[in-house]
């Protein structure tokens, strides 16, 4: 194993390949940091460039793009409260308040270090135990997915902010929007009112950047004359003591494990992982009320989990030839175009390429952290750009990004619609995150329920009797029960005193 890895390193340690990785990471960071441009797009654009290269060189470039694309999202998330990618939604929760308090430098330090370590841990997991982990992923069928999604939906309770009913409503609205368009399984168009442009439903990206970015810009535009945001750039501190890092070790470990675990399951990726890790960190914390007000723990949870999802998503790809999300589907295509047959024999037949990929990942991870640390002070200067110049540029980028998803003008309309919706939701104090969670998970829930019922020929029992599914449902009931119990105890205590 170590020999193979060393051989992998030797094969990528040429100036050409290192340069490709550096280019990939840099370009990936740019794509990740612009709301609307994603790692998937970066890879789609660069895939044709790799045709002429040998497989290791080509895949190295793509790995750089992947790591950069997932990591770049933290920049706008912290500075501007705009998630650059779905993977950095939860980074906005505490990263932005930290920046507002003048702790942008600190937030960056935490985010970069946890991104680096989360990525590193997941790559090590990938190298060491990909095959057995891949086998575990195979055990997850519709019944198991259904249970996991149910469990994830209960996280709405932790992400609701002040009012649980409002959170639940937002979640249901999200599920409702996800229902528009072709139904899963039979592709029957629903809620389209005869408009064929609604047949495809709403894409996640316009929904996400509409809700978070456009609505935020509307809110800022409205506030402009009220109070000018002033952050003293010269006095931002970047120092984080070793002790502060060490305090995060359990949080980091838990979030990374969640990231790897979710990443491994095909169909759920970094976009869900960061939210689940954030909610888990909040639930485990002794001071959950501090979450959302600018606590480093929130940034660490989100950023370590989304980078950990990278290694996780590569596990089934490398060990079984199964892509876990859209990015790995592109990578799968890349492998095939380079004449490598992904599948259980990939490691055996093309071990040199696989370990070259591993080495490239490790190197890309280092460059990612390096670039972000070097660029950090420059990014923070973004805050000194007058918002009346910065925000229109961001809107333009959002529109371009939304159009770029599927090259449809409809998506731009959807973007603005969800921007206005998000604006009103914030005005009326409805939390946005449950809507996104419902939007992402709703279709998974429905699809797996229907697939499960097809598999069992209409019998509901397997949803309860399949061991993994039963386990997750039990955890769901237990965690909800605990929440109700603690809520009831609190109320009683208030009555007594």
């Amino acid at each position: 194993m170590i020999e193979m890895l060393l051989a992998g390193f030797t094969s990528v340690m040429t100036i050409k390949i290192i340069l490709l990785i550096v280019m990939g990471v840099a370009l990936g960071l740019v794509f990740g940091s612009i709301p609307g441009l994603t790692a998937t797009m970066a890879i789609a654009i660069c895939l044709p460039i790799t045709y002429g290269m040998d497989p290791i060189a080509g895949m190295s470039l793509l790995m750089g793009l992947y790591i950069g694309g997932v990591s770049g999202g933290l920049i706008p998330a912290i500075l501007l409260k705009l998630p650059g990618t779905p993977s950095s939604i939860a980074t906005t929760f505490d990263g932005y308040p930290m920046a507002q308090k003048g702790e942008a430098g600190k937030a960056f330090s935490f985010a970069i270090v946890s991104s680096f370590l989360g990525g590193l841990l997941s790559i090590i997991v990938l190298i060491m135990i990909a095959p057995p982990l891949g086998k575990i992923a195979l055990q997850f069928g519709p019944f198991e997915y259904f249970a996991i999604v149910i469990f994830s939906l209960t996280l709405i309770a932790s992400l609701s902010g002040d009012s649980l009913p409002k959170g639940v409503m937002a979640g249901l609205i999200g599920i409702g929007f996800a229902m528009v368009g072709s139904a899963p399984i039979d592709a029957f168009p629903r809620f389209t009112f005869g408009f064929s442009s609604l047949d495809a439903g709403f894409d996640l990206l316009p929904v996400l950047i509409g809700l978070f970015a456009i609505s935020e810009i509307l809110l800022v535009a409205e506030k402009k004359y009220k109070n000018k945001l002033k952050v003293d750039i010269k006095n931002i501190s970047y120092k984080v003591t070793i002790k502060e890092y060490l305090d995060q070790k359990w949080n980091f470990l838990r979030s990374s494990v969640i990231g790897v675990g979710i990443g491994i399951l095909p169909g759920i990726g970094g976009g869900t992982a960061n939210l689940i890790a954030y909610a888990a960190a909040k639930n485990a914390s002794k001071t959950p009320e501090k979450y959302g007000e600018g606590i480093p723990n929130g940034v660490v949870a989100s950023e370590s989990s989304n980078n950990a999802a990278i290694g996780g998503a590569l596990v089934p790809l490398v060990s079984l030839g199964i892509p876990g999300d859209t990015v790995t589907a592109m990578l799968l295509g890349g492998l095939i175009l380079h004449g490598l047959q992904p599948g259980p024999l990939l490691m055996q037949n093309h071990g040199d390429v696989v370990f070259g990929i591993f080495a490239a990942l490790l190197i890309a991870n280092i460059f990612m952290a390096l670039f972000l640390f070097i660029g950090m002070k420059g990014f923070i200067r973004l805050l000194s750009i007058p918002q009346n110049i910065l925000l229109p540029i961001i809107i333009t980028l959002c529109v371009v990004g939304a159009y770029g998803v599927n090259s449809r003008l409809f998506d731009v309309g959807a973007l603005l619609f969800f921007g206005v919706l998000g604006y009103f939701m914030v005005k009326f104090k409805y939390p946005l995150t449950p809507l996104v969670l419902g939007f992402i998970l709703g279709p998974l829930l429905e699809t797996n329920l229907r697939r499960g019922l097809m598999l069992s020929q209409g019998d509901f029992m397997p949803f309860l009797t399949e061991p993994i599914a039963a386990f997750f449902l039990l955890v769901t009931v237990a965690s909800l029960g605990l929440k109700f119990y603690s809520g009831w105890k609190k109320k009683r205590r208030l009555k007594v005193y």
């Binding site: 592709a187 095909p266 589907a329 992904p342 024999l345 090259s407 003008l409 619609f417 921007g419």
Partner: protein
């Protein structure tokens, strides 16, 4: 202050309204078909957009990207591949149909275009395009089982399925080409399966590896490495003859099931594209298919490079369309 808020809100709504109008007018523009480029003899003078109504990395995408690589050389222009993967491919197909018939937007898709119409999901089909021909066919449509399966041949499968109706679980994506294959197989053999939706090609592989499913209908090229590794076994393929790349896999015909279903990949321009332009494209297609380098690359994917001119392609699709309709997938 309140005035300010109102102004901003009004502005936002205005922007929203304009955008929605923009989105709607997209289709209007599309229907205003002008007669295409006047200088159709010099075609192509700018990059050509290829719309693939399937996800990046799938077989449709790969076949198209490989072909595009060679077409770029033949036509001397850049090919931009757009994956419009939504609503079972209908969104991408519609996008091409609504685009200007000037030769700079072309569809690359397969059997599903016919099936969507038959299922009543859309009201257009292959004949609503100016078909430019076909360049590749996948004749390796197989029934694949896990190596632990008791089914060694189609005979085993048919015998068991006849005794135990709806007990054999078969994976498909409802309304896809493999779904039709199953219906055709049921009709030809008088069997009845429990047909279950599990999702796309890689989801099928996952389900078969995980042992949740007895059989997956899929293309040999997509599962080749699992067959080599001993995880999977192919019971047979639905083509006329055995594949050169997989001489051990018998055809359905050999096993007494008279069923031939090939997956074809066609190129279509929006109706009204000048004939000269379609012709130029078709000629480039023909040249690529004759290119040995291309042939070699396609054989690596276990698909067959075959050139069909527009007339032949239309004829094939007409025949298939009739056959699919008789299967009555509703």
């Amino acid at each position: 202050m309140k005035k300010m808020i109102k102004k901003v809100l009004f502005g936002a709504l205005l922007v929203g309204a304009v955008a929605v109008m923009g989105a709607c007018s997209e289709t209007v523009e599309g229907t205003e078909k002008d007669s295409g480029g006047k200088d159709s003899s010099s075609y192509p003078t700018k990059p050509i957009e290829i719309v693939v109504p399937a996800g990046a990395g799938g077989d449709t995408d790969l076949n198209t990207r490989t072909m595009a690589k060679y077409l770029e050389k033949e036509l001397g222009t850049t090919m931009i591949i757009t994956n419009v993967n939504a609503a079972g491919g209908t969104t991408g197909t519609k996008k091409v149909l609504d685009s200007k018939p000037d030769g700079y937007t072309v569809l690359s898709y397969h059997n599903s275009t016919l099936i969507s119409k038959i299922l009543g999901l859309v009201d257009y089909t292959y004949s609503d395009f100016d078909v430019a021909g076909m360049g590749v066919m996948d004749k390796g449509n197989a029934f694949v089982v896990n190596n632990k399966s008791e089914f060694k041949s189609l005979d085993d499968l048919i015998a068991f399925a006849k005794e135990n109706p709806e007990k054999v679980t078969v994976a498909t994506e409802v309304g896809s080409f493999t779904h039709l294959q199953l219906l055709a197989f049921e009709a030809a053999t008088g069997t009845k399966f429990n047909i279950v939706d599990v999702g796309g090609a890689s989801d099928k592989i996952t389900a078969l590896l995980g042992g949740r499913i007895d059989i997956i209908p899929t293309q040999l090229g997509l599962v080749n490495s699992y067959v080599e590794s001993g995880d999977f076994r192919a019971l047979g393929i639905m083509s006329d003859e055995r594949l050169k790349a997989a001489p051990d896999v018998p055809t359905f015909k050999e096993q007494g099931v008279d069923l031939v279903m090939d997956k074809f990949f066609f190129w279509g321009f929006p109706k009204g594209t000048p004939e000269e332009i379609v012709d130029t494209f078709t000629k480039a297609l023909e040249k690529v298919v004759a290119n040995e380098e291309y042939q070699k690359e396609m054989e690596g994917f276990m698909v067959e490079p075959v050139y069909l001119n527009p007339a032949e392609a239309n004829e094939l699709m007409e025949k298939e369309d009739k056959f699919y309709t008789e299967l009555n997938p509703q």
